[in-house]
Symmetry: D3
Amino acid sequence: MPIVTVRALEGRTVEQKRKLAKDITDAVVKNFKVEPDRVTVNFFDMPKQNVARAGKLVIDQ
Amino acid sequence: MPIVTVRALEGRTVEQKRKLAKDITDAVVKNFKVEPDRVTVNFFDMPKQNVARAGKLVIDQ
Amino acid sequence: MPIVTVRALEGRTVEQKRKLAKDITDAVVKNFKVEPDRVTVNFFDMPKQNVARAGKLVIDQ
Amino acid sequence: MPIVTVRALEGRTVEQKRKLAKDITDAVVKNFKVEPDRVTVNFFDMPKQNVARAGKLVIDQ
Amino acid sequence: MPIVTVRALEGRTVEQKRKLAKDITDAVVKNFKVEPDRVTVNFFDMPKQNVARAGKLVIDQ
Amino acid sequence: MPIVTVRALEGRTVEQKRKLAKDITDAVVKNFKVEPDRVTVNFFDMPKQNVARAGKLVIDQ
């Protein structure tokens, strides 16, 4: 703890996740005053057919 | 928000998700009085080897 | 399974949740062809100070 | 309910999940006094590029 | 990681959670071959008005 | 989407969440190239009796 979970549409590169994980961890450490090795960040890559907004799947928008 | 997450065993078609996402969104809009574009629905397709009921994986039932 | 999780801002009444749980369950049964007693719906009431959109907490919007 | 969700790095075998699902279910039944068929266990296999600790992805550690 | 999340109806005592957290951690360590201090267990106590089965809230069953 | 969920031990102030939500949103916008108003951040304040590490509840450590 803290555990940070990011759900985003699939298609992001490893490099994008690498940098975001770093930035989020820095933000948690700074604001919540915890040691970095306590912070876990995990990503769920959501297929576009598995997410809907306003009742429509992303693949239909 | 609202964010609705559906975990179900894998094997549903895109058409099934399309219709369920629509029906769930309509239900949230009607009952919780929110604008449709505020509603996110997302699906997790669970492999049958990743779900257990009564201590047994679905693939073993 | 299926398990449906609804995160929404706090303030909804029990009656609203009662009706939404019923409507969502009906929608899952109809579209995913499962028995009703397999469907679990659960709600998380999110405090307005615990949700942010566009970088601002809901209490600040 | 109870619903137990296990997020772990990918690479575990079906046999490992089979045994862990059984052991967790037994532990829930014993300690929370519920019927076994009420207990759902589900696993998320996390790719090593989707998990970070201390700001670094597992693939970089 | 592993991160184990338990959602159960509210009403369990701290002692019940204490024992279940221990048993689950032991099970994860044994089956997934990880160090104990890598294992996080967290509980969500679900109010009975926030959970529905078969379309009915637990408080109505 | 993206949806960012932060689980942390209870006790953080609104001001800490305000700043962290802002910093996380900025990080997501920068690295994942999305519009800010697409980003939702939500916090779960975990009671110390509901989190265990290495098989021991935080209140026992």
